[in-house]
């Protein structure tokens, strides 16, 4: 068993305890995946580097973990993939709240961006990253899980297939589907 599969198996035991009503598993889950979640928060904050003027990535992490801990009272993820998808959603929402606060119409960080490469959908300003993150939240859950694993976490398609307990081919198809969805939702490909 490789390290990805081993870590997933350990987390699955905690998720099973949570499913069985063991509330102490909530804190243990966060503690057990703390480094991976902290790294995820750091990575997710990078496009918002202008936020560093006001916020530290640890603040984002702490806010998101509080929300995650609270939400685990009501939401009981059945799988490791669902747990990380939930964590990524909370991190994204904390970042969006901060981005709206600082870069919104009244925010101190509002600025005009320069147009980037017209052929690419890559966001080139905090506002566009905000829009991109909001759009990610509207992806169907299966596609969003694939984006979280391949793009945010840098897993290979083979590793993502292990985590999501499906075939590489399915991962590949969900990946294409997610990118098509994002392209259309961001106002392109009409």
């Amino acid at each position: 068993m490789d390290s990805t599969a081993r870590a997933s198996a350990q987390l699955q035991i905690l998720l099973d305890r949570l499913q069985a009503g063991d509330e102490s598993a909530r804190a243990e889950l966060i503690e057990h995946s703390c480094e991976r979640l902290r790294s995820l928060a750091r990575k997710m904050m990078k496009p918002f580097r202008r936020l560093y003027r006001w916020e530290e990535s640890d603040d984002v992490f702490q806010h998101a973990m509080l929300r995650l801990h609270r939400s685990l009272e009501n939401v009981k993820p059945e799988s490791v993939a669902q747990f990380f998808a939930l964590a990524a959603t909370h991190i994204r929402r904390v970042l969006l709240d901060m981005a709206r606060h600082y870069f919104g119409p009244e925010g101190p960080g509002t600025y005009q961006h320069l147009d980037g490469d017209a052929a690419s959908d890559e966001p080139d300003s905090p506002q566009k990253w905000t829009e991109f993150y909001e759009t990610l939240d509207t992806l169907p859950s299966e596609e969003r899980a694939v984006v979280d694993l391949l793009w945010f976490e840098g897993l290979t398609q083979a590793e993502a297939a292990v985590v999501l307990e499906t075939s590489e081919r399915t991962i590949k198809r969900r990946w294409y589907s997610a990118r098509y969805f994002l392209h259309k939702a961001l106002g392109h490909g009409q």
């Binding site: 990078k46 580097r49 052929a119 890559e122 391949l150 098509y180 490909g189």
Partner: protein
């Protein structure tokens, strides 16, 4: 989704996969080349290929993508 729609969607996904595999091997085929036996799917295939090209930046994992200027 009807049977016909599902079959078309499945075929489209196969074509997208083929296009992407060939592109990764360094030979980017024209949509017309790989859609010869199903011209009715050409328009939709072009849209999906355009989406893949526009989101090609997602192929680089997040931490590699955003390291500039750190």
């Amino acid at each position: 989704m009807g049977n016909e729609d599902a079959a078309s969607e499945d075929k489209l996904q196969q074509l997208v996969e083929l296009w992407d595999d060939l592109r990764k091997q360094g030979r980017e085929p024209l949509p017309e080349e790989i859609c010869q036996d199903c011209p009715e799917l050409l328009g939709e295939l072009k849209k999906r290929i355009a989406a893949l090209k526009a989101t090609n930046w997602l192929e680089k994992p997040y931490n590699n993508n955003n390291d500039q200027g750190e």
